[in-house]
């Protein structure tokens, strides 16, 4: 296997997250045995539908919910479970999150000044009051807002502006790694491009690494370098973006791709609908695992399915010039 000499920033091993209702038996396994790595400087896309567990993975990395099994490593140090206060502090300084709902992710009763400065206050990351104000002004300007907005309240802004405030709040902490949990799903179509461009700008300027959680494959195609597809708590396929789109193997990936609406009437109206029905699949044989079919392309399959995929893949590789 070709060894990447890129630096691994985040590593998730055998992650399992079960939510229980304190009734001993019943537990909802939101994430089942997730394994992946994120390299420094890349944008890693995690795509799935609602209930697939993608948000849970993101939140588990941020230590917002406990995990039931597995390990999460950041920069070579373990960050899940019980860790020291310094390590917890490091996590917060290095990893930040952008949330989905601009209406719910800001404290409605606090001014923008407080919203953006919250992290600074917590760790006293400024020398004096002027320094703090300057940082806030810079952060607001970097997302295209005006310093005069500091004294306003979140509800006075549009959804797109609120999302930009959320980004400013995360960026002011100067993190290395950003988990963006569906950052544009709740925004208007014309505003999405604004926010995506902004995120790209920060990526270039600051050498950030992103984990981009989304349900919209077309956005992820534009933004991500590598993509993992998750379905029902399980990662079913991982590949670099162009590889995933050129050679998708897992039937769920296929159905996702097919479902993306194309803004072209002639094409859309002629489209055939493909429905992925898990109950119709043949799971006979050994238990499937996430295995590499090519060095950079993993798919969740058992040995029999792997053979099928290998055949299919060879055909596709020959077809496409």
């Amino acid at each position: 296997m070709e060894k990447d000499n890129r630096e691994v920033l985040l590593e998730v091993k055998n992650l399992e997250v079960t939510f229980n209702n304190s009734r001993r038996n019943k537990g909802f396994r939101a994430v089942k045995n997730a394994n992946f790595q994120i390299y420094k400087g890349e944008t890693f896309g995690l795509v799935g539908e609602s209930g697939s567990g993608k948000t849970t993975i993101g939140r588990s990395i941020m230590r917002l919910n406990p995990i039931s099994n597995g390990e999460i490593w950041f920069e070579g140090k373990r960050i899940d479970g019980k860790i020291s206060k310094e390590d917890r502090r490091d996590v917060i300084r290095n990893i930040q999150m952008i949330f989905q709902d601009p209406a719910a992710s800001l404290n409605e009763r606090a001014t923008i000044d407080y919203c953006v400065s919250e992290g600074l206050y917590n760790f006293h990351l400024y020398e004096n009051e002027e320094d703090r104000e300057r940082k806030v002004d810079e952060a607001l300007e970097s997302v295209g807002l005006l310093p005069e907005h500091k004294s306003r309240y979140p509800h006075e802004f549009s959804g797109g502006q609120r999302q930009r405030i959320g980004i400013a709040r995360a960026m002011i902490m100067e993190p290395k790694f950003i988990i963006a949990d569906e950052p544009i799903s709740a925004l208007d179509v014309s505003i999405r491009a604004q926010v995506l461009n902004l995120m790209n700008k920060f990526k270039e300027e600051r050498g950030l690494t992103y984990m981009f959680i989304a349900h919209d494959l077309s956005v992820v195609r534009y933004f991500a370098d590598r993509i993992a597809v998750i379905h029902n708590g399980r990662i079913v396929e991982v590949a670099p973006t162009d590889v995933l789109f050129k050679y998708p193997l897992h039937p769920y990936t296929l159905s996702l791709l097919q479902a993306v609406p194309m803004p072209d009437p002639q094409i859309e109206k002629a489209k055939e609908l493909v429905v992925y029905d898990e109950s119709k699949r043949d799971f006979s044989g050994e238990k499937p695992t996430l295995q590499p079919i090519r060095p950079d392309h993993l798919v969740f399959a058992n040995d029999r399915e792997m053979k099928e995929y290998e055949e299919k893949l060879s055909l596709m590789e020959k077809d496409i010039v």
Binding site: R59, M62, L64, R89, I92, Q96, M97, F99, Q100, D101, A104, S105, L106, N107, E108, R109, A110, Y114, E118, G119, N122, F123, G144, L145, L146, E148, H149, S151, R152, Y153, H155, E156, F157, Q161, G166, R169, M173
Partner: protein
């Protein structure tokens, strides 16, 4: 501030056309707008408390109730300072011509009772004492209830214990426990207030806990956790402001409730000790005269009803006004 906005919406009349020369070719030259101009917010700044008070004062009934309750409270605290009324003392007790005077005779606004004491004096003194009890009990119940409730809503470990505490305490009738405690500890102010609070705080705590649980998992609280904000700061800055409207509602229910408790307890003889007048005590003392000298009975009853209802309505209106959702309309 008092302006009401009841005018119906009017249709836009077509504007008189601005005189421009449509043949001027420069009109069709490209012109780009200033980029930052579109980020500028035109609306005036929003002020939370400004909107609260504007909404409150536009409610005429609320303002009326506020005036009534303020008047009563002022009288209750100021009048006794002037009259130096002492419930234990009855200077006219031997002068039977001063007994049972009807209201507005011989300068006694509310008349006199069986001992020749002015009902006006005893009423305000009684109201003062009842208010002290009710307001203090409300304060302690709310304070303890809110603090406990907020931590309770957040901590899952605390939840398991507190639920059991709640199940026990909430089933003990307040009146019963208060009677026992007053009997055991005596009828002073501190004892009565304590007796009233001892079971009621859990109700407030539970109420707050439920509200906290509703907003605890909202994204802005998760964001605060991601930024490293400690729990006490999250509670203070994120949760508490949301609860203002709810807390005011709770307070506006508690005050009349405690007035009623005091009235009931004193009526049964286990409220404040004999030394103090209180609304309940007066009602109890004068109930034998309900039919013969009705003014002695009904004036204290009326007074306790008015103070309870007016404080309650003020509280409700304020709670309504402090809910930010009502600021939109």
């Amino acid at each position: 501030m008092f302006k009401k906005n009841n005018e119906p919406l009017k249709a836009t009349k077509p504007v008189k056309e601005i005189e421009i020369d449509m043949n001027d070719p420069s009109l069709f030259e490209f012109q780009r707008a200033d980029d930052s101009a579109s980020e500028h917010i035109a609306a005036p700044k929003y002020s939370y408390w400004g909107s609260v008070f504007r909404r409150f004062f536009s409610n005429k009934i609320a303002v009326l109730m506020l005036l009534i309750s303020l008047t009563m409270v002022l009288f209750a605290f100021i009048q006794p300072m002037i009259s130096h009324y002492d419930h234990m003392v009855a200077p006219n007790i031997n002068n039977s011509s001063m007994h049972f005077l009807k209201p507005f005779t011989k300068g006694f606004i509310f008349g006199t009772d069986n001992r020749g004491n002015s009902l006006f004096d005893s009423l305000w003194s009684g109201t003062k004492n009842s208010l002290i009890v009710a307001l203090s009990a409300t304060f302690f119940t709310e304070f303890v209830g809110i603090v406990v409730g907020m931590f309770w809503g957040f901590s899952k470990r605390m939840d398991a214990i507190m639920i059991e505490v709640y199940n026990v305490l909430s089933n003990i009738p307040t009146t019963l426990i208060a009677m026992i405690l007053v009997y055991a500890l005596g009828g002073g102010f501190k004892q009565l207030i304590f007796a009233l609070c001892v079971t009621t705080w859990i109700g407030t705590a539970y109420f707050i806990r439920v509200q906290v649980m509703i907003i605890r998992d909202r994204e802005y609280n998760l964001a605060s956790q991601c930024l490293g904000t400690p729990l006490w700061k999250i509670i203070l800055n994120n949760i508490l402001p949301y609860l203002i409207s709810i807390i005011i509602t709770s307070v506006s229910r508690d005050v009349p409730a405690f007035i009623s408790y005091e009235v009931a307890l004193s009526y049964m003889g286990v409220g404040l000790s004999e030394r103090y007048a209180s609304l309940g005590k007066l009602i109890q003392q004068y109930s034998p005269y309900m039919l013969t000298e009705p003014y002695l009975f009904w004036i204290p009853v009326f007074a306790s009803a008015v103070i309870s209802v007016s404080l309650y309505l003020v509280g409700q209106a304020l709670a309504d006004a402090s809910d930010p959702r009502t600021h939109m309309i």
